[in-house]
Each structure stands twice: as structure tokens, then as C-alpha cells.
Amino acid sequence: MTVTTKGPLPSEPYDVTVVGAGVVGSAIARELAGHHRLRVALVEASGDVGDGTSKANTAILHTGFDAVPGSLESRLVREGQRLLAAYAAESGIPVEPVGALLVAWDEEQLAALPGLLEKAEANGYNGARIIDADEVRSREPHLGEGALGALDVPGESIICPWTTTLAYATQAVRGGVDLHLNCEVERVGSWESPPAPAPAPPPDSDSDSDSASSGGSVCHELTTSRGAVRTRYLINAAGLHADVLDRRLLGRGEFTVTPRRGQLIVFDKLARDLVRHILLPVPTALGKGVLVAPTVYGNVLLGPTAEELDDKRATGTTEDGLAGLRAKGRRILPALLDEEVTAVYAGLRAATEHDDYQIHSSPEARYITVGGIRSTGLTASMAIAEYVVGLLADAAGPDLDLTVAGDLDPVGMPNLGEAFPRPYQRADLIATDSAYGSIICHCERVTRGEIRDALISTVPPGSLEGLRRRTRARGGRCQGFYCGAAVRELFDGWGESGAAC
């Protein structure tokens, strides 16, 4: 198990290197980890996994009912939904199948519902139906006045995006993938390995790893902020920066990423009783529009906005954005606006000039781009990974042994979801270890035991923010008023001296 955050990188070439440890890159690395003979690296510019778009979305496990029929996205979302739902059940990623209502607020929207129902069916989703105003009201008693009807999509679920990325990365690392953090790929060149003598394989590497000793082959040489990484095959899952890497590698690009910002407001857990379903607007040309949705952590989300920007780092929220969201939220769920706000954040969708995912294989360049994974990438992640590894197998042929996929040891992720027992509620757990009875973060009821576990886990957090995504500590309504200093003490103490929590 190797996770590195600083210092030199291994000089031995990898068989496959995935750039970008978002939900997509981590899923691909996990898929490759199943092929035990390969030497695989996952390199990430940030100090943590899932630190880009993957940490800041609306956390919905989509059915894909509203995708463009026939598109790659439609297919991968549908397959990904099935794969991730099963994987979540197996590994303890919180998912709640709350269902969605696509609410029509005027006649025009009402008239659009039958078309959307047809589209859902064209996307292979047959569970949807149109319901009338009375049924809408009885199913969502706190909804604002004036809803005329809705498309009921019972298959839509809410999921924990943080645990999903972390589960993939954890399983990948345990399966033998080297995860290199704080490792930004700055340039890509080629490198010819010296023909002979072949470098002696390190003692713990597979003795039959013929790939590493095959002299004379041309590798990619990635120049990173931590030195060079050599790799025979390269997969670009760099999210918002996938287009940049694409151009660096191919000298041309197939697409340009134009970040589309989504700002969101997270309301307090005490608001959770106000809403039962994911409340979606009827989509317009501009996108899916502003929704109100519960989260698995027991909060309520309002958002996202859709703003085309040219700055790939513009993940800030704005006065206008928040005001606009509040105005829309007031119409959908008036009582929501009286509740306290726990967090405001923004994520950037990797929108391109195309209407579909941009997944391209360049066999001659031993390279695959996984770009333009716009607003459904969390859902589709596992299906994207399967698809990409399939493309890799085609591109590499006998050069990479991708035929036998072994099983990965299952992972059990810590539960952050309110619909499932949390450690502070479990007498059995506390009886075995009193640290699970010692609540440190009171708003989110995070125990000392959970914080300790996160700090010594396979992919430990690189920052307090990373710790928050693994445990929710400091993520509640007081944002650290009570627990901030205590949590920091545990984080620093662990990092510096290894002192027990």
C-alpha cells in the first residue's frame, strides 16, 4: 500500500498512470487495480483525493432519465447507476433512494412533462410517471403554492460523494496502486528506456513483471511538481484540466473545457423534515436548473446555479449567486429559507462545446483522454472506469495483460449517513472501544474514534477539510465554534508525533 505526499517518486516506469484522483480517476485506478500484474500510478495535483469537482456537487445518484438518448453519457450513467448502487451497498457508502419529483410550476412546464417521460423511456428508464397537483402536494406538504403536477422519478437517489471517491481510492491503493498526491503534471514528454541491461526489479515487485524489463520501449515521461513519472500508458482524468493535458500530449485537442459554476447552499439538519424527495425543476436549455434535495448527511441542499466562466479556479460563491438561489428556493420550499445555513460552496462542471462525454483513445500515443465528464460523473464513474479499461485493452492489445481481472478485497467505509446507525448510536461499538462514545464534534456527532480511524486510514486526510469529508467533523452548523480547536488538536497531534487520539 503506497500513498506518497512528498519526496522523490519511483524511477521505475509504470504500466499505466492515471492523472487526476477525482471520482473518475479514482474509479479507473480501482478498476485497474483488479489487474494485479500491472504497475499502476494515480497522480494528483492536490494534497487529497476528490479535492476538485468531485467534492462539490449535488450528490445525486442519477437514473439518467433526462440524458441525451443514445449518447455515451446516457449509457454510462445508466450502467454507472446500477454499478455504484451495488458497490455502495457492499462497501457502506450511504445511499438513500428518496426518488425525485420534477415539478411543473406553469402550464408550459406541465406541457413539457409527457416529452420528458418519453425521453426517460428512450433512456431505458421505465419507472417514471406523471402525477397531478394533489398527489404532488400530498407527497411534499411543504412545497410552495402553485405546483401543477410533476414527473415522478422514483429511481433517483442521494449518495455521499466523498465516501465514494475515498472508497475507490482506498481499494485502489490496497490493490497495489501507487497514489502520489501533491503531484501536478506540468509537462509530458517521451522517454526511451535504456535497452539493456534491464533494470533489476525491486525485490517486492512481481517477478514476472516483464513489462518493466522490456527494454527499449518508449514511455511517457511526466514532469511533475515532485519529479518525473514514467509510464507506458497514460490516462488523462484531469477533470477541468483534461483539455490542457490533451493538448500537451497530442499537440492538438478534441475539446475545450469551459467551467460552468454551480453555487449551492446547504441548510441545517433541522430543515431535513421539510422535504422528502429530490425536487427538480423542469429543465431548460440552460441546464437542469435549481433543485432542492435532501443529503445523506441529513441536510437540505439548494442549488446549483449555472454560470459559464473562464477561470478554472473560480470556486467561490457570489452575493448575486446566493441571492438568486434564495429567491428560487423561496418559491420551491418557502419554509426552508427560515432555517439556518450550514455551508455555501461552489463546484465547476467540466462543460465542453460537445453534448457528450469526451472519452477518446489514441492507441498510437498510448493515451486515453477522459474529459468533459460534466454533471453526471459521480453516477457514471464506475461505468466510465469499465469503459476506459476496455478501451485500454483494445489499444494495448497483448502489450498489457488486461485479460484476467482478479477480485479486490472489499472495503468497508465509515458511515456518514443519517439513515444508517452512526458510531455514537452504537452501544456494541462503544463497548469495544470507548472512543466511539466520545463525541468531539457535537453538531455532527463525530466521535474521537472516527477521527482517529480517519487519521490512520489507508488514504489519510491531508488537511482539516479532508478530515471533514471523511468524518464530517467541523462541517456542522457551528462550523467549529465548539469543536474546531479540539479537532485541529487531534489532527496536528496525530500528524506530528503519532500521539494517540
Binding site: I265, V266, L270, R313, T315, G316, T317, T318, E319, G321, L322, E340, V341, T342, A343, V344, Y345, Y424, Q425, A427, D428, I430, A431, S434, A435, G437, S438, I439, H442, C443, R445, S463, L464, E465, R477, C478, Q479, G480, F481, Y482, G484, A485, A486, R488, E489, D492
Partner: protein
């Protein structure tokens, strides 16, 4: 799996209010009195206020907390730390989590004394990035005084209330340069001496009035805050730390989860003059009822609730209904906010939404004037504003709501 126990009085929260209530109750023979405190140490907020201004002159927060804990223990109350009340299993039965396991504690009376917290950046809807270095006074004080942590190098304090000056002194203690105090108000909300004190000593701290923080800047670590002045001018103040002070809200989660009726103004449990909530057997005191007052006010409420709790244990009925007391704009809230016949008058605490110059407070019921009181000073938002309760006897128990207005 959960141990079941019973006590006579269960107090949630070992801050000044809860400890004072427990001390008085235990000493007066109210039976078994138990205080639950989720923190590792009892004492509430004063534990990490390492400055004078608690009770007698020169007494620091930790000393004050210590004396309250001693009084509660000396009276015979059990104070259990590291135990959180997490929910309700019945009208007077609380569920708890602690290192020794889970419990379900049934009481004959429950006193909620859960305190208040400062609203953080997010609740104030301050836009921008989400960098490290964004604090509330509560977090800052613990970081500096309890853990001795590094804070940053240059800070901006949002607010100019007493608590903002406490933040200022904690920052200075931690060796942080303070770039400015920033307030939307037209002046500091403290006495002249205190306001002037920032000009003395090592560094002069500018007070920017009529200014709001409109954006946080920086990636990873805060790099500055954008300010908008009243005339619309914008500027950026470079800093790596910002402390959002004041803007307190009662910690009402437990009350709300237990279906205890809240007052829309204070956002704490609605209480009568004896601190009875609308739920029989459940009392609420201190900052959990109305956000922040000085510690001795909270402790005073704790001491005063004891009598009503004893009355309840002795079988006195639980008054239902009562006449609501409401504060009208520009007043934001009033507490207590329910009047029941025979309950103590005491003193009413109010807050205003906008600055008032020597206001006259008028108490009305069904058009009838019950009381007029001139406040002989200028009152600013988030500042204590008090109304004496001598008029309570004149209230018509069958009449409409009692309204407090600015005359």
C-alpha cells in the same frame, strides 16, 4: 443496549445557567440532580474566556466556571462530563452518549441550559472561497487559551461588540497583528473606555464602521477580505485570519428535537417568567433561551429556575396557554415571551434590529398601555436592552398578546 436510569432533575449543559440551577436545586433538597455536559470539562463558555469580567471584579472566566462547578458539586449535584444528550425517548426522557455507553435517563423535571453559539461565516451568507483561517470567537478562544495553537499572522475581526474585543485580546495574546475591527454599525458597541483601549498598548487597531465583509478571498489559506463601505466603495484588506464575532443564536437543537415550542424572535424555547416551556416538566434557562447575555445573567436565571422546578416536583400544576409577549419592529425579540397568571415578573431582555437613541419602551395589551419606560442611552443591535417587569400584574390573562413597542 441502553442503560435506563431515573433522576429527579436532569440539567442539560454545565455552563453558568445549568450549574447555578443544579447548585440551588441540589442544596435545597430537590432530590437527585444530575447535570450532563458534553464537553470534557464543566463550566460552559467561561472556561475559555481567559479575561476578567465575570462576577466580581478581576475574576476570570475559568475561575468563575470553577466556582460554579464547586457550588454544584458542593450542593450535592452530580456533574457528568463527556456525556451528550442526543435526543428524546419520551417527554421527560433523554438519550445520551458517553464513553461508558448509551443511556436513557428519565427525569421528573428537565432543565435545558444548552447555551448559544456565534453564527459562522456560512450562516451569515458571506460569499467567496472557503479557505482556512476563518473562525468564530468561540473557536479562537479555545484555540488560544485551551490549546495554545498557532492562529495566523494578521487578522480582521468582524464586529465591535464586547465579544469582538475579547477576540481582539485573544488574537493579541496569540501574537497576531489585528488589521482592523469591522462593523456595519456606526460605532463600537462597547463603552468608550473599552473602545479606546484598542488604541493603547502595542498596536493601534483601526475601527472601520459602516463596513460589511462582502467576500472572502484566497485559496487554501485566507488572503484577504473584501469590504464594502456605506458609500458603496469597495476595498480589500489583506489578512490570513478573519474572526466572525457576535451574532449569537441559542443552541436549540435538543429543544426542537423534543418538540419544545420555540419563540420565533429569540429562536430559543418560548418561556414564561418562571422559565417554563410549553412542554410540561421542561424548563429552559440561560443563553439557550435568548442569545448572549453576560454570564451572571445566565447564572441568575439558573438560580431563579430552581424555585419553579421545586414547585413542579411538589405537584404544582403546569400552566398552559398564557398570553404571548411579542416585540415589534424595530425590536427583534423579547424574553421571557409568555405570561401566565401568578408567574414571577422579573426582568425582560430585548434586542433591537437598528440603533435607537434613548428609546421609550411601551407595553400594550389590546390597545391599553400597561407601562412606559425610557432607556437613558443609545442602544445598538446585539446590545443588552432591559425592561422591568413591574407591569406584569396588570395583564389581562384572557386578553390578547402583550406588545412591546418603541414609543
Amino acid at each position: 443496549m441502553r442503560r435506563q436510569r431515573s433522576v429527579d432533575v436532569l440539567v442539560v449543559g454545565a455552563g453558568p445557567a445549568g450549574l447555578a440551577a443544579a447548585a440551588r436545586l441540589a442544596a435545597s433538597g430537590a432530590g437527585t440532580v444530575e447535570v450532563l455536559e458534553r464537553d470534557a470539562r464543566a463550566g460552559g463558555v467561561p472556561r475559555h474566556c481567559h479575561h476578567g469580567g465575570f462576577g466580581r471584579w478581576g475574576v476570570t472566566g475559568p475561575q468563575y466556571a470553577e466556582s460554579l462547578v464547586e457550588a454544584a458539586l458542593g450542593g450535592g449535584a452530580a456533574v457528568r462530563t463527556g456525556v451528550s444528550a442526543t435526543g428524546w425517548a419520551g417527554p421527560l426522557c433523554l438519550e445520551t452518549t458517553g464513553p461508558h455507553g448509551l443511556e436513557r435517563i428519565t427525569a421528573r423535571a428537565v432543565v435545558l441550559a444548552t447555551g448559544a453559539r456565534e453564527r459562522p461565516r456560512s450562516a451569515r451568507l458571506v460569499p467567496g472561497t472557503r479557505p482556512a483561517g476563518v473562525l468564530t470567537t468561540g473557536e479562537l478562544q479555545q484555540a488560544v487559551h485551551v490549546y495554545g495553537q498557532e492562529i495566523g499572522t494578521r487578522a480582521v475581526v468582524v464586529g465591535a461588540e464586547p465579544v469582538s474585543y475579547a477576540a481582539l485580546s485573544a488574537l493579541r495574546r496569540a501574537g497576531v497583528e489585528v488589521a482592523a475591527l469591522v462593523t456595519e454599525e456606526t460605532r463600537a458597541q462597547v463603552g468608550r473606555a473599552r473602545a479606546a483601549s484598542t488604541r493603547l498598548g502595542v498596536a493601534w487597531v483601526p475601527l472601520l464602521t459602516g463596513a460589511v465583509v462582502t467576500e472572502l478571498l484566497g485559496r487554501g489559506r485566507l488572503s484577504g477580505v473584501r469590504l464594502r463601505r456605506r458609500d458603496g466603495r469597495e476595498s480589500v484588506l489583506a489578512c490570513d485570519t478573519v474572526v466572525f464575532t457576535g451574532d449569537f443564536v441559542p443552541d436549540h437543537e435538543l429543544a426542537r428535537r423534543g418538540g419544545v415550542l420555540l419563540d420565533p424572535g429569540t429562536r430559543g424555547p418560548a418561556v414564561d417568567g418562571s422559565f417554563r416551556t410549553a412542554s410540561p416538566g421542561v424548563f429552559a434557562v440561560g443563553n439557550g433561551v435568548h442569545a448572549v447575555e453576560p454570564a451572571r445573567v445566565a447564572a441568575g436565571e439558573g438560580a431563579r429556575v430552581a424555585e419553579a422546578v421545586r414547585g413542579h416536583l411538589g405537584g404544582a400544576g403546569w400552566p398552559s396557554g398564557g398570553v404571548p409577549v411579542v416585540a415589534e419592529t424595530p425590536l427583534r425579540w423579547v424574553a421571557p415571551n409568555r405570561l401566565v397568571p401568578g408567574a414571577a415578573g422579573g426582568r425582560f431582555i430585548l434586542r433591537t434590529a437598528e440603533a435607537l437613541g434613548c428609546p421609550v419602551l411601551v407595553v400594550l395589551q389590546d390597545g391599553r398601555c400597561l407601562h412606559r419606560q425610557r432607556v437613558r442611552r443609545r442602544v445598538l443591535p446585539n446590545q443588552g436592552l432591559y425592561l422591568s417587569g413591574g407591569w406584569v400584574g396588570k395583564v389581562d390573562a384572557g386578553g390578547g398578546p402583550v406588545r412591546v413597542v418603541v414609543g
